[in-house]
Amino acid sequence: MSSDVNVKLDALPGADPNALPLQVKDLHVEFRTRNGIAHAVNGVSFDLRAGETRAILGESGCGKSVTAQAIMGILDSPPGFVTGGEILYRGVDLLKLPESERRKVRANRIAMIFQDALSALNPVFTVGFQLAELFRKHRGMSRQDAKARAVELLDLVKIPAAKQRVNDYPHQFSGGMRQRVMIAMALALDPEVLIADEPTTALDVTVQAQIMALLAELQRERNMGLVLITHDMGVVADVADRISVMYAGRVIEEAGVNDIYASPAHPYTKGLLESIPRLDLKGQELSAIKGLPPALTNIPPGCAFNPRCRYAQEVCRKDPAPPLYQVSPSRTAACHFWKEVKGDE
């Protein structure tokens, strides 16, 4: 990076440089639709340390993307509303900031990568324009300087012939290259936190590995916190430090990556792990979690997972939902029977 134009941002007023880069506390998001209120996120909490990778794992519609959009402040509103909780960046509650201040947090301090890079990049502007825009609008650079930085960024994410490709349009790149452009865009302003929403879902497996390796490398270089949203347990195992498993808008288990894979403490996590195809179980039927996740407009009382759970008893079907039990000093699980689930292994 050429440092002559690299203006470092002033600290956000009230920010404590020693506080965690990202802390989400008891976040609630709902969508007010014609068919009723969809409770997409119901009390999600997690911390993220500098340089740490936090995976948020769950199936489609469990509220993981909505959580990410709420952190960025880019929910479609209406119908989406944050109805409770705190999102702390270095101790400052972003939800209490006026929009003009909040806007400056985006891309500068917390950036985001989206799932499908083809639709997430604007089809009518060159990638150079879309990258340079960040420097022009946030750092007040001239078009020329900003373009030079765009080329550097494309180099950084290992796009060959960056100098020529900077003038190409998104549709002229392959899927993997497009996702690299997305990563370049997210890293342009040196954010402290990167939220990656299913960054590899739209890619084939070999390209997935390259993209994850690139992300990991860039994260190490910058000591950046990474929130990795995915439904792919394989991706998680390789790169994550800690995992939050989400179900129906709640974090139902939170633990270090090794603990979860060794001994899940929630039946849902256990079900997910059992549904991964394994070479040593060749020839046996792959187990699957029966049933479907609940509609967010109609979450069952008690534990939201109880209709699909083989451990469920009367207590699971009654409100309140199970609290997060302290399974060990560094892990929690929202299951009344976590001991049985864990010991059952």
């Binding site: 960025m72 479609d76 989206f114 609008k137």
Partner: protein, 353 residues
């Protein structure tokens, strides 16, 4: 790209020939059924047959096929036998007209022996001014209303635009034109003309029931707005839908996540994409507006191409009708081609092979 343009230009040939034949046949049928248009020159008097015959020959209505009802006037019996490839026939009136237009740039004359090309040259500035006013009006107001409604889907603004556009679309242009002329030009104009403090440019020029040579631009404003009104409604609708579709697009979310101001997210990222279909519509609409100009110019008495066509259709001057409409067809075809090329400029994903 070059090959694409050439292919498109070649496609003009059958279109133009087809249009010309259709016009030729319809105007010939009109003469065959309702009689020689030259007789109109003499009013109630009965001209001496020899004189009538001479004038008819000179104005190009002397072909005997024009006396045979239903004859498409394609071939005529060759004088002295032989003819084309020994068939005994030679190319008839239609081919005479084609060769006149394409080899001699001769579109014929009207009943007063003025060349059609001169008539068009006199009339076209008025039509161009009218079209300009119409297109600017529908683009500016239509896009503004569409953006306003599209950004607030389901709100009062949205419903207002939806209802008023349906209303405008459902009223045919000849009704709208007559109503506007009657109430805005005559009645409201009379009120304005009764006030001393209003300048003549406004009261006499703009609010006029018809074109005024003293105010060649001002008196075209209201006819232009009438002409643009229907497409304005379509433009507003198209913009509205397009904005609502794009505002939910992933790349708009990316633009927000980049910390750009709302103004830039909407004004640059959303609008640029939303306007692609709108601009193509406006381009194609130039052709439709030409057709509308025929009605509008007649209602407001504007001496443009449209009124020229109406007048000559009434008097049965086939050469004028054929000549003017053929030129209009060429303009529309060229406009459509330009729009298709513009489309590739607006949307880099489009490539013409």
């Amino acid at each position: 790209m070059g090959r694409y343009v050439i292919r498109r230009l070649l496609q003009f040939i059958p279109t133009v020939l087809g249009t010309m034949f259709l016009l030729h046949y319809i105007t010939s049928l009109a003469i065959q059924f309702s009689g020689n248009p030259v007789r109109a020159l003499f009013g109630d008097r009965t001209p001496p047959p020899a004189l009538l015959q001479a004038i008819t020959e000179r104005l190009g209505y002397g072909d005997p096929c024009l006396d045979r009802r239903g004859d498409p006037c394609l071939w005529r019996a060759a004088e002295g036998g032989g003819g084309w490839l020994g068939t005994g026939y030679e190319p008839g009136l239609f081919f005479d007209r084609l060769s006149g237009v394409f080899f001699h740039f001769d579109f014929g004359v009207n009943l007063r022996e003025r060349a059609v090309t001169d008539l068009v040259a006199d009339a076209i500035p008025f039509t161009f001014k009218l079209l300009l006013i119409a297109i600017v009006f529908e683009a500016v107001v239509g896009i503004a209303a569409g953006v306003w409604a599209g950004l607030r889907g389901g709100s009062f603004a949205d419903n207002l635009v939806k209802i008023s556009t349906v209303f405008i679309i459902s009223v045919p242009i000849f009704v709208l034109g007559v109503v506007v002329r009657e109430f805005v030009g005559v009645k409201f104009g009379n009120v304005l003309r009764g006030q001393d403090w209003i300048p003549d440019l406004i009261s006499v020029g703009v609010f006029t029931p018809g074109f005024k040579p003293d105010y060649p631009f001002a008196s075209l404003i209201i006819p232009g707005m009438v002409l643009g009104a229907v497409s304005l409604a379509t433009t507003a609708r198209l913009t509205r839908t397009s904005i609502m579709e794009n505002i939910r697009a992933d790349y708009v979310r990316t633009a927000k996540a980049k910390g750009l101001t709302n103004k830039r997210v909407i004004g640059v990222h959303t609008l640029r994409n939303s306007l692609i279909p709108v601009i193509t519509f406006l381009g194609v609409d130039i052709g439709a507006a030409m057709a509308g100009a025929v009605v509008t110019e007649t209602i407001f008495n504007v001496p443009g191409i449209g009124r020229l066509v109406t007048m000559s259709a009434r008097t049965g001057e086939s050469s004028v009708v054929i000549g003017v409409v053929t030129m209009l067809v060429l303009v529309v075809l060229l406009a459509n081609l330009l729009v298709d090329l513009l489309y590739a400029v607006l949307d880099p994903r489009i490539r013409y092979e």
